[in-house]
Symmetry: C2
């Protein structure tokens, strides 16, 4: 069941909300912000493994695993940039436009639910669905993903090495490998992380003022904890998994007309529960400075504008230009250090063109 | 002026031809084959430089530098695989089909002339033309490439660091940077290289027999020297730059009908000299085992078939299946060790979506 932070229906929410907004910056003993750990939690049935992550990286960059063989995961979730495509709305392997803006994959392992609606309860579930989604990788059936993998001897060998000869190559193992790779996409050591670790000079005075405002006006009620995306690990389930209602304050405002952000009713589309109307998963703010455009429909082009929209329609606050600049400076301090990723080498079909028959 | 190996019009050609075909395998003192050096020759006005190569790598992977912002150099010259796209014919930034198959960029720095027609006399010239070619990157004018680069503050800073504050960002400097990156794409240490360096066990007995046949039947008359692509550095100009006439022997054969390889008349298209009719630049055989499909129109899907076609139509030899398998084993021994390339991080437009306005 979802939690509506704005009305404080749930005790847990009220407690966290109070703790976050009343949090004195000096008393860092209980801070709702945490430096990003170097690795996210791994599920028990898919533990970390270097060879598995390396295989997952290959699959992530391999266009042959989309229906038209023209799209790899990386083509929308671009790891050469902010982990997404810079477009409002993505275009899938069959040229079909998606319905919501591509979320970044950097630090994706710190979520507890996946996609804008939060309809997938694990990264693995999200990958299984997305691989077959007509607007994304568009493979008609998981058996066809398997069929393509089996045509590539290098992959067959690697799957057997990673998952054992008996299990070997399978769709579910491919999903596990990609998820394992995605959990390595962690951007630690942002200026804000260094600030949290006690380096007062890591962020500018302007960013520090922005951070204060960010907390004071209430942004931190949703955007807190390691990923500035809400859910506290362990508390996630009880906390309604960090969903929030988008734009409770101003249906019918200028913003709504300009950006049509309420045209999509959010999580209710998948749960069909009226209480999930306009509810959305809280997205991470890490690396937000390099993942424009913003919101689920990518309608807002710049970060200052996104901050103004959120403050007004979410919190009923009108920020000054100076306050917005300060908050943007704080948000820019959330851009982390990107790990070095070596280009994977994709195995060939033996004595055949690199492409596969459809 | 072009050289026709098959008729031996030129003394230089005759000498090399004789040297190559009469070359006793034991006498490696004068071998027309050479292990691949770790770095190709660099032009005086574009010397090697690490920061320049790093910038060139970013540009190489940056889709924003094609007209539609959907195509990077790497999208056709895929360095995650054989350095090309695995297709018969590429598709450019505007969805336009190219006319000739994408050549691999691995070891491209060892050529003395560029593209299938050999119409570009430097890598830099080839890049300048290709960036603006409607069937490739399709930028209408070099000034528009410059305009896009200038919109990205990170690039502006890097260009100034690499080329100096006065020169800074320019189309020609972008070309120089990409060319510098391309010259780092060297796949040394193939089994055949180790064999040439004296390790008799580096290639199989089958591959060794294939190599003997390769030399005996005359393949090595064109495919020799470091890149198995002909031209001897320094001799290149006098040698007519390693052009050869494609399929002198069997115009009108079954192969011609099946693969339509003579539909394109080659270098004459650019020089307009009748003597250049059906003349083509000799392509490298390095990594040939992973760059199917083959020939300038990508009409031949597999390497065994490509070997049979070449032997018959080029040299008037009908090889047995066993000989073909042996030659393929030799050719597979030309697949080198691919250098580790780290994923570049592409700079952002400040406070804007990653994409640029067209």
């Amino acid at each position: 069941m979802a939690l509506r932070f704005h009305c404080g229906r749930w005790l847990g929410a009220a407690l966290i909300f109070t703790a976050v907004t009343a949090w004195p910056l000096a008393a860092q003993e209980f801070s709702p912000f945490r430096p990003l750990p170097t690795q996210p939690p791994y599920p028990k049935d898919n533990p970390p493994d270097e060879a598995k992550a390396a295989l997952g990286k290959q699959l992530f960059f391999d266009r042959r695993l989309s229906s038209s063989q023209t799209l790899s995961c990386n083509d929308c979730h671009n790891l050469l940039a902010g982990g997404e495509d810079g477009r409002a709305i993505p275009v899938g392997a069959e040229g079909r436009r998606g319905e919501r803006s591509t979320p970044t994959l950097w630090n994706v392992g710190f979520y507890t639910v996946y996609n804008w609606y939060g309809s997938a309860r694990s990264l693995e579930e999200q990958l299984r669905v997305h691989w077959l989604a007509p607007e994304a990788m568009a493979m008609p059936e998981s058996s066809q993903v398997l069929g393509r993998l089996k045509k590539i001897p290098g992959y067959r060998r690697q799957f057997e090495q990673v998952f054992g000869r008996e299990q070997g190559v399978s769709f579910h193992n491919a999903v596990k490998a990609v998820a394992t790779f995605l959990r390595t996409l962690v951007t630690t050591d942002s200026p804000f992380d260094r600030f949290l670790q006690g380096d007062e000079t890591a962020i500018s005075a302007q960013a520090r003022r922005g951070f204060d405002t960010f907390v004071e006006v209430g942004c931190a009620a949703c955007h807190f904890w390691v990923n500035l995306a809400g859910p506290v690990p362990g508390l996630a389930f009880e906390m309604g998994e960090g969903f929030y209602e988008l734009f409770p304050n101003y249906p019918g405002t200028e913003y709504e007309k300009t950006f049509r952000l309420a045209a999509d009713q959010g999580r209710v589309n998948v749960t069909k529960l009226p209480s999930d109307t306009r509810m959305w998963r809280v997205p991470t703010l890490r690396n937000i400075g390099i993942t424009a455009p913003y919101f689920h429909n990518g309608s807002v082009a710049t970060l200052p504008e996104a901050v103004a929209v959120m403050a007004k329609t979410q919190l009923d606050k009108t920020l000054t230009d100076e306050q917005i600049e300060e908050i943007v400076a704080f948000l820019d301090s959330l851009t982390g250090r990107f790990p070095e990723i070596t280009l994977p080498h994709l195995p060939q079909v033996e004595n055949q063109p690199f492409t596969l028959d459809r």
